[in-house]
């Protein structure tokens, strides 16, 4: 390895009163602790039925200045998004994730939206993605990078529209971590036994308080986060 590595580890062990690594029994305990990944306290505010969780998610997301709308199925999604963009005076040229989840919506039926699938460039103003999960506890979306999910779609354009099937709302971050572990273990995930490279927890649009503590939206990431909740459950 490297000299610095050895020096650091020896210094560390010396400070701990050891001449070498932890003994085998301890190592076994520590490995088990990692493998067991026990949950610590999860706030009780999420102890509610699923419709309650979706309501909680929506309320919390709005508190942090995301906007939301509800539709009853994927068929309504393109029109709902077109209407949102028109109402906010935003362009209808959008860059969309090449995500098969989104294929279920009848995009072609809406003539307003001009859609490009793929990775955003600097001039792109609006992106559309789906979200694999959402945490009700704090109104937080969870996004995983992958072949059909460029993470830059979450950050580059000024407006980010997210299609969220209500069934995907979960209670806590811990639920997302369990899902990430499943993906990691799933040979079909296409990630070679590794987790997604990037997991984004997104809670509202981008913001900054750096100028006299004035809360401003759209520092570098999206200024607007619009969530279309599809009531599929």
């Amino acid at each position: 390895m490297s000299e610095e590595r050895d020096q650091i580890l020896s210094s560390l062990r010396r400070s701990r009163g050891r001449s070498g690594p932890v003994d085998d029994a301890t190592a076994e305990t520590l490995r088990a602790r990692i493998a067991g990944h026990k949950r610590n306290i999860v706030p009780a505010r999420t102890d509610t039925d699923h419709p309650g969780l979706v309501d909680l998610f929506e309320t919390m997301a709005q508190k942090v200045f995301a906007t939301t709308t509800r539709v009853s199925d994927m068929a309504e999604v393109p029109d709902a998004i077109a209407e949102y963009l028109r109402g906010a005076n935003l362009p209808s040229e959008v860059v969309m994730a090449p995500d098969t989840d989104l294929d279920a919506a009848p995009w072609a039926d809406n003539s307003m939206l001009e859609i490009r699938r793929g990775v955003p460039d600097e001039p792109d103003q609006v992106s559309i993605t789906s979200a694999p999960s959402a945490v009700a506890e704090t109104g937080t979306l969870a996004m995983y990078s992958g072949p059909a999910h460029p993470s830059t779609l979450n950050f580059v354009p000024e407006t980010h529209v997210v299609v969220l099937p209500a069934s995907r709302v979960v209670k806590s971050y811990e639920d997302v971590f369990d899902a990430v572990r499943e993906i990691t273990a799933d040979p079909e995930s296409g990630r070679g036994g590794l987790p997604p490279r990037t997991v984004n927890f997104i809670t509202g649009p981008s913001r900054s308080g750096d100028i006299e503590q004035t809360l401003l939206l759209g520092a570098h990431g999206p200024r607007r986060l619009h969530i279309v909740i599809v009531e599929d459950d």
């Binding site: 210094s11 010396r14 400070s15 600097e122 990078s145 811990e174 070679g192 900054s208 570098h220 999206p222």
Partner: protein, 474 residues
Amino acid sequence: MTVHSTSRNFKNNARDQLANEDLQAALNKARGHFVDGRSTARDNLPEFDALRDQARDIKNHTLEHLDFYLEAYEEKVRESGGHVHWARTAADAQRIVLDICRSVDAKQVNKGKSMIGEEIEINKALEADGIRPIETDLGEYIIQLRGELPSHIIAPAVHLTKAQVETSFRENHTELDEDRVLEEPLSLLDEARTILRKKYFEAEVGITGANLLVAETGSSIIVTNEGNGDLSQLIPKVHIVLASLEKIVPTLEDAATILRVLARSATGQEFSSYTTLSTGPKRDGDPDGPEQYHVVLLDNGRTDMLGTEFEEMLRCIRCGACMNHCPVYQSVGGHAYGWVYPGPMGSVLSPGLIGVDEAGHLPNASSFCGRCEEVCPMHIPLPKMMRHWREREFESHLSPGSARVGLGVWAFFARRPRLYQLATGLQMRALSWMGRKRGRLSSLPLAKGWTKYRELPAPQGRTFQSRWKSGERV
């Protein structure tokens, strides 16, 4: 590497900052936001204090077995295709970063906010090597224009007024229309956003810090509100993570516990706008993400703090709650502290990293009011450790000679009650007589520190002990 600090000059720094009207105006504006924010967040989460206890326990457990967890972490990073570099000193860390940048012929490096980056003075090192570092965090960008250090660990530009930001923008963004209006904070934000936007796509390397490292998965976690850290790590070819050793936690669940108290303690937000886990370089088939992922693990004095009375400082998660609630920080601002880490956490950490002879003033400039410890999400006993620094100074005779003599005389008497009562009896009668007309003294030899700004109430007359001894009762 010579450390550049003005901490020795703390007293003068403090005096200057007290007279700095812009700073005082800025601090007055900011204070309530942070204090009320944390208080409200705590009220809205019944489990908050229990989570703090668990967060402390997680860190204590990790520090107990830090070498194991670091090695476990390293293995996982490698498994995911990343590289771990161990840096004993700031100079080591600089060298590692420069080597990586040179290997991809980097001309520009985009930086998400990193306090470790400040600690190792990475911008200076990059510039000396002909590489342009671009700070993308709005606060860091502003102070980069002004050539200043951050004055707060999460709000780097909290010491500035809006007018000062406007001046800096006008002075530096000379390509823009002189007559443009920059009255509203939003116009300043938009200007910064536009200028930095293009720069996101121009760098070969992106450097971020890490709020947490997770041994279970080999992930690094950044907690931001702007999204600049994410843009800095997703677009360039190379992502470098600068992290000190004690950032590690065992599992994702442990990370979640700490994340629940971090933003709430820092700004009062329940969760930051962007909390991102990064694990290695992009996977085959990923349409974006960095091709290379490097983690620089920095020691720089931390392994020496382990096993000492300062170990508990290594639980710090850099939330800034202590300085938001500290009456000393709120009086003088962060720059007075003279180095990277201000406020109570800086007062304990800095002597450990740059030496007590350099940073000794910092743990002394505290009234031990205890508010910092009260709000610390990790229950770090900050006043206690400041007192330990004072003990170290006293033992090595670093405290000023006159103070030692004064203390020595006082202690001599305090340990001898009869002599003490004799001496003080006389003194108090004399002082009382001197102050009899007005009941107080406006000046007194040897008491300049007091009487510079305050009247000294005169003693009532005979001491309590003397009166009680002579039989006075109620």
